[in-house]
Symmetry: C2
């Protein structure tokens, strides 16, 4: 007896998602309909959380060059001594409690991108100074590459956010770069994005450009831009990062606050210590944001990984980092804030088997850990030094798979194929059943890059490996790109603002 | 205050594992110290289990050409009509109840390989008629390749079982092949293995060769050999498979019973139906084994995957198959039998990014699903048509990672690095701390193939991708291979048995 249950909804949702992805290249943000993976017991989580409190209580965190931060913490009850801020157990968590559990980001075309809850938002890699592709190899990134990756991100149904420094446009002076990057996000895409964080005034410029597009008043209660904030682990905040953080928070815009810890370098070599340290550091950043502006929308982030203990090189997608990701997910749920973790990480120099094995492991871990926000979901190579064109396309396909996985299984009469078993006898193939015909378009994710041809077909088609197929795909995507419309007066205002700001500065190259 | 808790044990265990792996190339079977992932609710599992019972009750399963099986089922209370056997709800599960929850397999050097419980046994791919490597490309497998993969498996600390048809030695007649394969497992390795299943007499030959090595009496209560049994899905058993199954069970040896279902072909296109169908089919095979010999040691297996619904080609490591794997794991725990699932599956023709992304996803799913027995943990390419030398080495490295992941995280004073935080101040690197020195050898899995060098070092070393590095590695492993000792009289007896058996048959090539 068929029923109108979640299965039918699930099927309709998948069909709608697919149709939407085809027509507009903008799939909805996927909802997590699968449980999280619970690695540790509540007792173990208590101990990790308690260890974070112990670190904050006994060692404390240093805030360098930021008297305002020290004063805010002192007024909030922390023990400030020189640049060191120590927190009684429970205080840091308490100071985070005004941050929203979930919030929306907005695109200039009116799209709403929900951050937190059951939503999983995917965005491109952040920060690589190099790019690479099969045709031209590895080279410094330029503004043209930056624009290309903004366009590619806009073209993909599987990325919901335009990212920030998708690569470093090193052909633009360091002190002017943020203007061109923010302009590219606003001009070539309509997805939410991240602005400059390398100086408070660059953060301010970024927000100001968003105000030109969205209206100053709109930004007072709509998050349209974020800053990607890293801690100087272990246990240090510098004035650049707190300056940017305070700027975004003051404007009621968002930040993603991520301790960046390689075990053995910026923290101990054992993962439980790293997890507790990252938890402690992230809480202090979120606490500062809430002291500046209660309710400003923050993401609890982390970037934890391992080190090759013979060479000191960072390593990615490792079993230890996978385990740490699960634990971080559990800890984050104690705060209840949107979680950033997981990514298509790799140390590989090329989009080979190593790259995809490490990326798959790191990404699946984030998904099962309960991530809400995945920076580096596409393009990352060489420990983040390189944005790879082919890797970008390969990661996108895996992002599509993640969408399907998040939808989970629906157990209902249709999915159980009750009618199919009436239609065919044992030993008979199900290829032609009514059930198969009814479901075949929606049952499975249709990979854009996985080759499933026979060896003979594959050979006849040039015996291309995935990287070579991806090379064709990103070029086709760029060729197909059409910019979203923008009001010419808004565009002109953005250009005028940039020209004015650039004219006020000498070029700085470092 | 340091404590003598599981952490110290975990560290010691990891150190011992690593030392053991280095010196003997035989790491212990890893114990799962991480929880399983529970995708579905108990209500959903009830429904899946009930659906399997419904299939067995209303459609039933056909047993072709096996009067003995029909008679055994009739006597056990099933409803037999022609070749169709139908089971009242609960009967199939009841008939499985005499199969052991956990059992040991034994190697000829006395090693014990525990199957079931918290143990995770990894073994090479099974069945490919082709092999490939970077030097000589794709070609039909020969006996020399078979021997090579037995040797490579023996060399690896991360595989605990020698597998069965690691590739098809197509240069040996079909009806004599099993003799050479079993001989290779017994001669070139000491790990447990699988014997012939393509005819009952080939199963009998395989067991007889094991008796020559272990002694006939020993086999009565020691499992040293298994048959890898597939169902002719949907819902059909043929006399070849039941013949082999009964032969192994009668000798109190093991079988791995795996429905092989590609959704849309040998079963419906929707995963929940496949899961229920596979559950139903596996239960009937285990039931038959227990009717032949109660207590014979069986593995509840499955091989479920998806299809490219445009071309009909099987697809692997897909999100749907990952979800199905989690659900199968949950269902298997209702029976409490050793579980076979997960593998380094891929449809790719080469050990590229696609191969490793699909393999990593499929394998991680099996691990979190609670697998005890992983066929195809190394070497699989092209949907199982090809055993790849480079893929084998690449998969081995991931198997090593799996060992580390299964160990989980230990939350104790050492892992929390209590002393490290006393030693260094905020902002100071942890590279030189006592804690780092004490832990750096055991903290992280040390990958044999992942490249983490700088771009410059990597370029200077020839800019090799993982597949090229793997090419060097498997050759080195083969070069380093030394056969385990074997009693010359036993070896002679094996050779005499093979000669006699071969002399009794004409060559058959199909």
């Amino acid at each position: 007896m068929p029923e109108a249950g979640p299965g039918r909804r699930g099927r309709r949702a998948r069909a709608a998602q697919r149709a939407e992805a085809r027509s507009t290249r903008v799939a909805s943000v996927p909802q997590r309909r699968i449980p999280t993976y619970e690695l540790l017991s509540e007792t173990e989580l208590d101990r990790l959380h308690g260890h974070a409190d112990w670190i904050l209580d006994t060692k404390g965190v240093e805030f360098h060059g930021d008297e305002e931060a020290l004063e805010l913490f002192r007024a909030a009850g922390a023990r400030v001594e020189g640049v060191t801020v120590r927190f009684d157990p429970g205080l840091a968590e308490h100071l985070c409690s005004t941050a929203p559990k979930q919030f929306d980001m907005y695109g200039r075309d009116g799209r709403v991108v929900p951050i937190g809850g059951d939503n999983v938002v995917l965005l491109p890699a952040y920060g690589p100074p190099f790019v690479s592709d099969l045709d031209n190899g590895r080279r410094y990134a330029k503004l043209e590459d930056f624009e290309n990756f903004v366009k590619l991100t806009w073209m993909s149904p599987w990325l919901h956010h335009s990212g920030g420094t998708v690569c470093e446009p090193v052909d633009v002076p360091v002190n002017k770069r943020h203007l061109d990057m923010v302009y590219a996000h606003l001009k070539y895409s309509t997805k939410p994005f991240m602005g400059g964080v390398t100086a408070p005034e660059r953060a301010e410029d970024s927000i100001e450009m968003a105000r030109i597009v969205f209206g100053a008043e709109y930004l007072e209660d709509h998050c349209v831009i974020q800053g990607n904030i890293n801690v100087n682990s272990p246990l240090v905040w510098d004035e650049t990062m707190t300056g940017a953080l305070k700027t975004y928070a003051r404007a009621n815009q968002g930040c993603v606050i991520s301790p960046f810890i390689i075990g053995g370098a910026m923290g101990p070599v054992t993962q439980p210590a790293l997890i507790a340290q990252a938890h402690a550091e992230a809480m202090t950043g979120i606490a500062l944001s809430q002291l500046v502006r209660p309710g400003s929308p923050m993401v609890y982030g982390n970037f934890l990984t391992t080190m090759n203990l013979r060479s000191g090189a960072p390593t990615f997608g490792t079993p230890e980092s996978v385990l740490a990701t699960y634990a971080i997910g559990q800890l984050s749920r104690r705060l209840g804030l949107p979680l950033r973790c997981g990514a298509h990480y790799t140390a590989s120099k090329t989009a080979d088997g190593q790259a995809m094995q490490e990326s798959a492991d790191a990404m699946e871990a984030g998904i099962l850990a309960g991530t809400n926000f995945v920076i580096h979901a596409a393009g990352w190579l060489e420990g983040g030094l390189v944005m790879g064109y082919e890797k970008f396309a390969m990661d996108l396909d895996h992002c599509g798979m993640i969408h399907r996985m998040l939808a989970g299984l629906t157990i209902d009469d249709n999915e159980l194929a009750v009618d199919a078993y009436s239609e065919v006898d044992p030993g008979t193939a199900h290829l032609g059943t009514q059930h198969t015909l009814r479901n075949f378009e929606t049952a499975n994710y249709d990979s854009a890059l996985a080759d499933t041809d026979s060896f003979e077909q594959w050979s006849d088609n040039g015996a291309l490996d995935m990287q070579q197929r991806a090379n064709r795909q990103w070029k086709q995507m760029l060729a197909d790109y059409e910019p979203p419309p923008i009001d010419p007066s808004v565009d002109a205002a953005l250009l005028a603002f940039m020209a004015e700001r650039k004219a006020s500065m000498d070029d700085a190259w470092y």
